[in-house]
């Protein structure tokens, strides 16, 4: 597989993880924590 394509796929995974983590923090903030 092309190295750049592989890296783009990895980036997408990183962004998804970041979105999930941020959602966790966002919910915390909503709770007032």
């Amino acid at each position: 597989m092309n190295k750049n394509f592989k890296n783009i796929l990895k980036m997408v995974v990183y962004i998804l993880i970041a979105l999930i983590v941020c959602y966790g923090f966002y919910t915390c903030k909503k709770m007032g924590v």
Binding site: N4, N7, M11, C22, Y23, T27, C28, K30
Partner: protein, 710 residues
């Protein structure tokens, strides 16, 4: 004369005073917090003694009380475990609500909207940059002439930036060479950030917990820890945390990479250990035969050193009261004085010493061992071994362990195992991956020159060769093995009875078959012979049958053992590919230097070198191998072998190992590639074909009667 004090001391003292000022004015609660933690540990200790020994000390366990200092509770967490449980349940209920998710994505959208607005501020700069790249490059041939802005910038760099950089570098060196300052700063900031209180509180809670097993109170401890850390949490700015996080992530991923490479090295060693004493690596040109051979030789040296140490330890444990240090010093001295230089001389040396002891049995003649009090025999449940036998083995193992280079090759391989000694038991650093390339020339050794006469049992190529009998242990690496030990077809002209030494009468193959007999200590052969060749059939069958053949079937692209490099790699590929295009258009058009290209090149080279550095340190490729017996029976086993860039491409060997010979050969010629004639058209003429001096063409011509008649 009065010694002048380095002015940098004043700077360091000033920094210390500033740090102390922070302690006094900003972190004034730190000492009070320490005092509280001391009270906590004192009370916990009393609680511990009461519970353990049944004392009746009057006390209040204060370790679960919150601090009375005005520290902020981070994240506004609830004060009790019960409240936290309620909140925790509510959190997950909210987490899966559709409205919350929708609100989150709206918030993400808002964030992107505002982020985009900030980006617009930078848009003109991006457009200017694009225009700069798009404009036509003016042409000139002003070779290496600096433009006016560049000349000005270079002056600024020389007069301002360079001195600042040099001063900072000098200052950091000064601080690292005067550890009192940075240790003091670390101490002050550990005090400021309540680290001392945290450590004391940890032990206070430990004493309380082992006596109470009060798990619920753990929550309070987490809160107390967070409150103590709040001094640091709210002092360091967000940008500081981001930098710190990046530094930590970088260190973690580098450590993961190093551990991965070390794991691969261990797998390689497992594979090497599974191979017999003689091995032949085969593969087509460019698959990395000699690379794999060199890699295996280096791993084998590490294996031999580790094995020697392991066996030394086993022998040490058999007679734990023997003064081994005296014995080692004696062997070491004999080694330095060249009284011992191979395993046979080691055995003879120890024999002489023991004979001397037998003649005159006293402690002094047995390296101060109290043989009358301690045992001189050891039962290992297989047999009873004598101390003298163990000493023989120990001396040989120690000799192998001490030997500086264990590899003998017909091409040069660089080794860099670090010998560390405090004049007691020496240690070897056999790590390949955490080595500084800057210290490479200082730490390097090279493999020993292999004299093939030392491997020939019957006749030698050089009469009375003094090195003829020098080999008894070591790792033999022979590249292009089949050129040295040819097959039957190639050797059919040679006869065993020939007066001259040849491949049929020199006893080399007998030597290969018997090699382990000279170098076995404690049942472990410190002997290995590895060769490489393109085809196993190129090696004579008698030799080949003794080998295990390792066929290299495939070599993977270079992979990276370091995780989380995808973003860096994408960025590098995006920038460098564009820069490269532009750079060569620019070089095509212009011969002078401009400020724009100077800065651009500086950035690009920094990025490119960082990228290459990461791949050089943590890159590896995987070889897919198949092993089979030298009889070529066809039963193959699949294996993977890992080649780490840092280990094997760090000036280890020259891929053109025999280039010096070819250089000498071509030096005799008066012509080079550029002097040769071209074909006059797409179809070679008869005359051109004849000029090839090809056997095939000559044969065609010679067999063609019509042409010959002409």
């Amino acid at each position: 004369m009065k010694k002048k004090i380095d002015y940098r001391h004043f700077i360091c003292v000033s920094i210390t005073l500033v740090c102390l000022a922070f302690s006094v004015f900003k972190f004034k609660y730190a000492p009070l917090r320490i005092w509280e933690s001391l009270i906590d540990i004192f009370n916990s200790f009393k609680f511990y003694l009461n519970e353990l020994f049944g004392f009746n000390f009057a006390f209040e366990p204060t370790v679960n009380d919150f601090t009375k200092q005005p520290f902020i509770m981070p994240f506004n967490l609830p004060n009790t475990w019960e409240e936290f449980k309620v909140l925790w349940r509510a959190y997950w209920q909210l987490y899966i609500t559709k409205t919350n998710i929708q609100a989150y994505f709206t918030a993400v959208g808002d964030f992107l909207y505002y982020f985009a607005r900030y980006l617009i501020v930078f848009l003109p700069f991006v457009l200017v940059l694009i225009l700069l790249f798009q404009r036509e490059i003016p042409k000139n041939n002003d070779y290496n002439k600096d433009s006016k802005p560049l000349a000005l910038y270079k002056r600024f760099e020389r007069k301002v930036l360079k001195p600042i950089k040099d001063w900072l570098r000098g200052f950091f060196t000064f601080v690292s060479e005067t550890p009192i300052y940075y240790k003091l700063w670390l101490l002050i900031w550990a005090w400021n950030f309540n680290f001392f209180a945290i450590i004391i509180e940890f032990f206070a809670y430990y004493l309380y917990f082992v006596a109470s097993f009060d798990l619920i109170s753990l929550y309070i401890q987490v809160l107390k820890l967070l409150m103590d850390l709040s001094a640091m949490l709210y002092f360091i700015p967000t940008i500081g945390w981001i930098v710190l996080a990046l530094v930590i992530v970088d260190r973690v991923r580098r450590n993961i990479a190093l551990n991965t490479l070390r794991h691969f090295e261990m797998r390689n060693r497992g594979f090497i250990n599974s191979l017999p004493i003689t091995t032949l690596i085969c593969g087509t040109m460019g698959t990395g035969k000699t690379t794999m051979l060199s890699d295996m030789l280096l791993s084998l040296e590490a294996i031999f050193r580790d094995k020697a140490q392991e066996l030394i330890f086993d022998n040490d444990m058999r007679f734990p009261n023997f003064p081994w240090i005296n014995f080692e010093n004696d062997i070491g001295k004999a080694y330095d004085e060249h009284k011992i230089f191979n395993l046979a001389t080691v055995r003879s040396y120890v024999d002489d010493k023991l004979a001397n002891f037998n003649k005159n049995p006293c402690k002094e003649n047995l390296w101060d061992y109290d043989f009358e009090y301690y045992s001189v025999t050891f039962d290992d449940k297989l047999k009873v071994v004598e101390l003298f036998d163990v000493l023989q083995s120990y001396a040989q193992l120690y000799f192998v362990y001490l030997s500086d280079v264990l590899v003998l090759t017909n091409y040069s391989v660089r080794t860099d195992f670090l010998y560390m000694s405090e004049d007691n038991f020496p240690l070897w650093d056999t790590d390949f991956f955490a080595r500084s390339s800057a210290a490479l020339d200082v730490t390097s050794r090279h493999s020993k020159i292999l004299d093939f006469d030392a491997l020939r049992l019957k006749r030698t190529a050089v009469k009375d060769n003094p090195l003829a009998n020098s080999y008894d242990f070591g790792i033999l690496g022979i590249t292009e093995y089949g050129k040295e030990r040819k097959n039957m077809l190639e050797l059919k002209e040679l006869k065993k009875k020939d007066v001259e030494t040849n491949q049929r009468n020199d006893g080399f193959i007998d030597g290969t078959k018997m090699r382990r007999h000279s170098g076995t200590i404690d049942y472990y052969p410190f002997v290995k012979e590895i060769g490489d060749e393109q085809r196993p059939e190129s090696v004579g069958a008698d030799a080949r049958d003794t080998f295990k053949i390792v066929h290299i079937r495939n070599k993977s692209d270079v992979k990276l053992a370091m995780p989380l490099f995808a973003v860096g790699e994408l960025l590098h590929n995006f920038i460098i590919s564009r820069f490269k295009n532009y750079y060569y258009q620019y070089r095509f058009a212009r011969g002078d230097n401009t400020l724009f290209m100077y800065l651009l090149k500086k950035l690009a080279s920094g990025l490119h070198n960082y990228y290459l550095g990461i791949y050089n340190l943590y890159g590896y490729s995987e070889l897919t191998c198949e092993t089979e017996m030298g009889t070529l029976s066809g039963d193959v086993e699949k294996h993977s072998y890992y080649l780490s860039n840092k280990k094997i491409y760090s000036k280890r060997f020259s891929t053109d190992a025999f280039s010096d010979y070819f250089a000498k050969k071509t030096m005799r010629s008066e012509f080079g590639l550029n002097d040769l004639d071209e074909y006059s058209s797409e179809r070679a003429t008869f005359d051109e074909l004849k000029r090839q001096n090809s056997y095939f063409i000559n044969e065609l011509i010679n067999n063609d009667d019509v042409i010959n008649k002409k």
